[in-house]
């Protein structure tokens, strides 16, 4: 029941974003890509979802211009 509730909440969130015309936000795009991982066959879905939201570059950035994180990588 807990997972069902969370899935419905996620669906409602995407509906809300669409109604607000914000489907193009990079965070929403990352979210939708990550949702695709849920249909995988291997028991590593949580890891795969986290990877979809991760910065996969390897070099340090020159300087931090903000202190917080936003949840996905801006494309």
């Amino acid at each position: 029941m807990d997972a069902r509730s969370k899935l419905i909440d996620l669906a409602a969130f995407l509906d809300r974003v669409q109604r607000a015309g914000q489907e193009g936000d990079f965070r929403v795009k990352a979210l939708k890509e990550a949702i695709g991982c849920l249909d995988g066959a291997d028991p590593g879905r949580a890891r795969e979802v986290l990877l979809r939201f991760s910065d996969l570059t390897t070099e340090p950035i020159e300087r931090a211009t903000i202190q917080g994180a936003v949840g996905a990588v801006a494309i």
Partner: protein
Amino acid sequence: MVSRTTDDYERMAMAGCVAICEPAFWAGFDRASAQGFYDYFRQITEYEPKRAAKFGIEHYCWLCINPKEAEDLKLAEEVIGLIPEFLQKPGVLGIGEIGLNKNSRNELAIFERHLQVAQDHGQLVLVHTPHLEDKLKGTRLIVDALKGFSGIDPGRVIIDHVEEHTIDAVLDAGFWAGITLYPESKCTPHRAIDMLEQRQAERIWMNSACDWGVSDPLAVPKTMRAMRQRGWDAAAVERVVWENPKAFMGQNPRFTVA
């Protein structure tokens, strides 16, 4: 715990908590001078232990300048210069929580300066990994940097806030791993237990985030309840929430919880 009320100490005591360790962390704003850190180090080494003791809780702490404030290199160097004076205080366990926040070159430089202090003074190390999209890259940079310090035994380093995509890299390199429980954005009790079961609870501790954001000082006892509900026996629960933290922190003789 400087960001928490005295009521939180009382609730933790009633839930069975007998000791806490508090990492030096961000004040919610960037401090203006090294003197501000000097006062802060006094607060967590002198006053907080007294506040915790009123509830029968032993208070330990870690010292550093948080990576969020590492872009000001001059300030960071001044603060790092203050640390040795405090390392012999009774409740100080080591250097932390150092690490990275946005994975910048300055953050990495200050992280390595802290590691040098830890190596020079034979201190335990508590490492903060970045949040959300920055965690994977930051964890990799941190592990690589640590490998450059041959005088620091990986078994004396705990890399905190691991999640499913970073825990293997941390444990496979010989470090301890910390799982931070948080009502929002970080790890839930069931995800933490999943990771513990996958890795047989080896070199892992769990902690409750107790900072300026929405956090729950009772997250560990609540996760203990979830562990029992999932069939963990009492000895297995005790290993994670008692024996493992004691084994790691007990490497510093100032940690005296029996």
